[in-house]
């Protein structure tokens, strides 16, 4: 089946409302805009004296992390708690599955604890889809990163951050720089940007870090950083894992920084009001110079803050309480 149709069908109900949030691919632009608008309305919650709204009171959210994560898990936890949900944190990589319990058995056990929503991170691409296909029908799944496939909440918080600064997407030229091959973030960003109508999406990397036929995702391919960021409005830097050097994707951090590291000089090629983004955590001196990371163009810390409002919005929309009415779920 066409992947776009397959994921679309699983993620939305017959009225086109969000049931699960697994990937951006296949979702309509209206729905993405609704997420951004809803997140906007939640962003003020953090400024209140009591940082809580009662939308998910009585709802139990389980964070199922089959792969280690601190920041993503924490922001999901904060988001759920600000919506008044109860939160369970389960790091499963070291417990049940290593004893030979199958993923489905683990899920059945958690279902028996009457959870309402699973936030799932797993090192296998498609794991969130698999879980959504096999859990009891009342359960809702949010993908917090599956293998190299998707990290849709990260992409949405990036879209939120971009929209706050740039208002519209249709005039924007965006460059995504670095390890696209191994990046679930990049794949989700590409789908989000193209769905929201960005004028041009570029990827910039050596051939070893670009997946086969990447241009078919609707991007323009560049191998030279200065050409790739020429006149762009947004630069998204991707994280480079150290192990890429030992498995012959790259010769050295030194050469990578020399060619693809973002410095103040190279930044001159972009538009004067360019935004610099990074999903974190940054390797200073590898992906970018500290002066850029901490400079006036950088919105990296803003991305972290926005992550909470965006995740609140997605959770609230999925649980069907977007306008504040209490639905018994």
């Amino acid at each position: 089946m066409d992947p776009k149709k397959a994921s679309g069908k699983l993620q939305t109900d017959s009225n086109g409302r969000l049931r699960h949030f697994l990937t951006i691919e296949g979702l309509k632009s209206d729905l993405l805009t609704e997420i951004l608008d809803t997140a906007e309305s939640f962003s003020s919650v953090a400024e209140q004296a009591i940082k809580k709204v009662p939308l998910l009171r009585g709802v139990t959210v389980a964070n199922l992390f089959f792969e280690a994560s601190t920041r993503t898990r924490t922001t999901f936890e904060v988001a759920a708690k600000r919506l008044s949900a109860d939160v369970l944190n389960l790091n499963i990589n070291t417990s049940a599955t290593s004893k030979g319990e199958s993923l489905l058995d683990t899920l059945r056990n958690l279902e028996a604890m009457n959870c309402d929503m699973f936030v799932v991170r797993h090192n296998n691409s498609g794991a969130a889809h698999f879980i959504a296909q096999h859990v009891a029908p009342h359960l809702r799944i949010i993908n917090a990163g599956d293998g190299r496939h998707a990290h849709p909440t990260q992409a949405m918080l990036d879209m939120f951050t971009i929209r706050r600064h740039k208002k519209e997407f249709n005039n924007l030229r965006i460059a995504i720089v670095g390890d696209v091959m191994h990046s679930r973030v990049a794949r989700s960003q590409i789908h989000a940007l193209s769905t929201l109508g960005a004028a041009e999406i570029r990827v910039v990397a050596p051939k070893t870090l670009l997946p086969r036929d990447v241009q078919k995702l609707g991007v323009h391919v560049y191998h030279d950083l200065c050409e790739g960021i020429k006149d762009v409005d947004v630069i998204i830097m991707l994280r480079l894992q150290r192990e890429r050097m030992t498995s012959a994707f790259l010769p050295s951090e030194h050469e990578y920084f020399h060619l693809y590291g973002l410095t103040e000089e190279k930044l001159q090629f972009a538009k004067p009001d360019v935004m610099v983004m990074h999903p974190g955590p940054i390797n200073r001196g590898v992906e970018m110079d500290s002066k850029v990371a901490d400079g006036t163009h950088s919105v990296i810390l803003e991305q972290v803050t926005n992550g909470i409002a965006v995740r609140m919005a997605i959770m609230a929309m999925i649980m069907g309480n977007r306008h504040g009415q209490e639905h018994a779920s």
Partner: protein, 424 residues
């Protein structure tokens, strides 16, 4: 027992027969096709009016899961399924548990099939002991009990010095070396064809070069050692061209393709469908067309099922954690007939690719209706429409991406050694 199959349309590609004939069988052998032997007094008559009568099918690659994985399937369950689908000879790769690297394991598999009597199993011997890729198996001993080919199954040998010696040793005893060509280093942990879909789904890709580099290497080694090489399950258009050229150059090389690779492409994995997870992977539309071209023009001699039955749980996992393979005895002939319907090849050529040609590759006397030969016969109704569903699949494995497909053509009778093993 004397038996006559009356009024059927006989297609026996090995003997260039494609006409209405009666088939006379006695004492487990084909007595005559067309001409009634003097004094023939049939004890049983099968009316094959409106049906095709062809040799029992020879499947070049099917796993019974016994010994070692009887929770998936058994020799009894799968030979019975084979009989229900017109298949009378099954070639079984050596990756059972224990591995087929001794006479004892070889004979126990062969004998168990004989004992049940639904179909015969011809096991391949292991190329290396325990398929470990380092120590040669006792090929002469395997040959002694009837083994005609050796293979390392889905465990490619990484060390080409060992591969070369294994090929030379096999050639010494006139054994064919069966190879599923894949360079494991280039595969690099991949689970899907490297292309647009693996990029979208974030699955680790298997480049085409994982197959073509291996094919090139083995063609060079075959030329060097003079051994007969059979390539199992080509998946790329380029490998088909390479094999076609090597055959043209006179090398003793042959190749097969699975029925599913002639129909499905990487698009099958669109929703992480683990039933589409096979080795080698389902590739691009262009590759599929190249494989069809290969089978039509003769670079690929045979179509096999590559039957790999699984229990339900084996596919109930995230994609990369699933076990590979399709349960495909039920679809070998139906997919073949569909190729004929789609104009890829003639009925006679298609039947050759699942009867006499695989038998030639295995170097056995089967896949024909020659007088005096073993009476293995398949009778099918080429007009009968039906739908594949899990409940009515005859294999114990229900893992098929073809569930829900409509097919035309269904086996009505199967004879093995002159005995009716399916149909009435």
């Amino acid at each position: 027992m004397k038996l006559i199959i009356k009024n059927g349309h006989v297609i026996d590609p090995a003997n260039n027969i494609d006409a209405k004939h009666d088939v006379y069988i006695a004492d487990g052998k084909i007595l005559s096709v067309g001409k009634m032997p003097a004094g023939f007094d049939a004890e049983k008559t099968i009316d094959a009016k409106g049906k095709i009568v062809c040799p029992g099918l020879v499947d070049l690659c099917a796993r019974m899961r016994e010994p070692g994985q009887e929770h998936k399937a058994t020799i009894k369950s799968e030979t019975l399924a084979a009989a229900s689908n017109g298949i009378t000879t099954l070639c079984c790769p050596p990756d059972t548990q224990p591995v087929i690297d001794t006479q004892a394991v070889f004979e126990s598999i062969y004998d168990r099939a004989e004992h049940y009597g639904y179909a015969q199993i011809l096991p391949l011997g292991a190329l290396t002991q325990g398929l470990d890729g380092s120590r040669l198996s006792e090929m002469a001993a395997l040959k002694e009990v009837g083994c005609t080919g050796v293979s390392n199954a889905m465990h490619p040998i990484e060390n080409m010095v060992i591969m070369r010696r294994a090929m030379e040793y096999a050639a010494t005893f006139d054994l064919t070396v069966f190879i599923q060509p894949e360079d494991p280093v280039l595969r690099d942990g991949g689970t899907a064809h490297e292309g647009e879909l693996s990029t979208r789904l974030g699955l680790r890709g298997i480049p085409q070069a994982a197959e073509t580099v291996a094919v090139a290497t083995y063609i060079a080694l075959a030329a060097e050692t003079g051994v007969r090489v059979h390539f199992n399950h080509l998946s790329t258009a380029r490998a088909v061209q390479m094999v076609g050229r090597a055959i043209h150059d006179g090398h003793p090389i042959s190749a097969d393709v699975t029925a599913h690779h002639l129909f499905l492409t990487e698009m099958e994995l669109g929703d992480y469908n683990t039933n589409g997870f096979v080795e080698p992977p389902l590739r691009s539309q262009r590759d599929r067309d190249g494989l069809r071209d290969g089978i039509a023009k003769g670079a690929i001699a045979a179509i096999c099922s590559d039957h790999q039955p699984h229990e339900l749980d084996a596919k109930l996992t995230p994609f990369a954690l699933a076990e590979p393979g399709i349960s495909s005895l039920d679809t070998l002939l139906p997919l073949g007939l569909r190729l004929v319907d789609e104009g890829v090849m003639t009925l006679s050529n298609m039947l050759a690719s699942i009867t006499c040609k695989p038998a030639q590759i295995l170097n056995i006397d089967a896949g024909t209706l020659s007088e005096g030969g073993q009476a293995d016969v398949c009778i099918f109704d080429s007009d009968k429409s039906w739908q594949l569903n899990a409940e009515t699949m005859t294999s114990r494995g229900k893992n098929s991406p073809f569930i829900g497909w409509e097919f035309k053509g269904k086996v009505t009778h199967t004879l093995h050694k002159g005995r009716l093993v399916f149909g009435e």
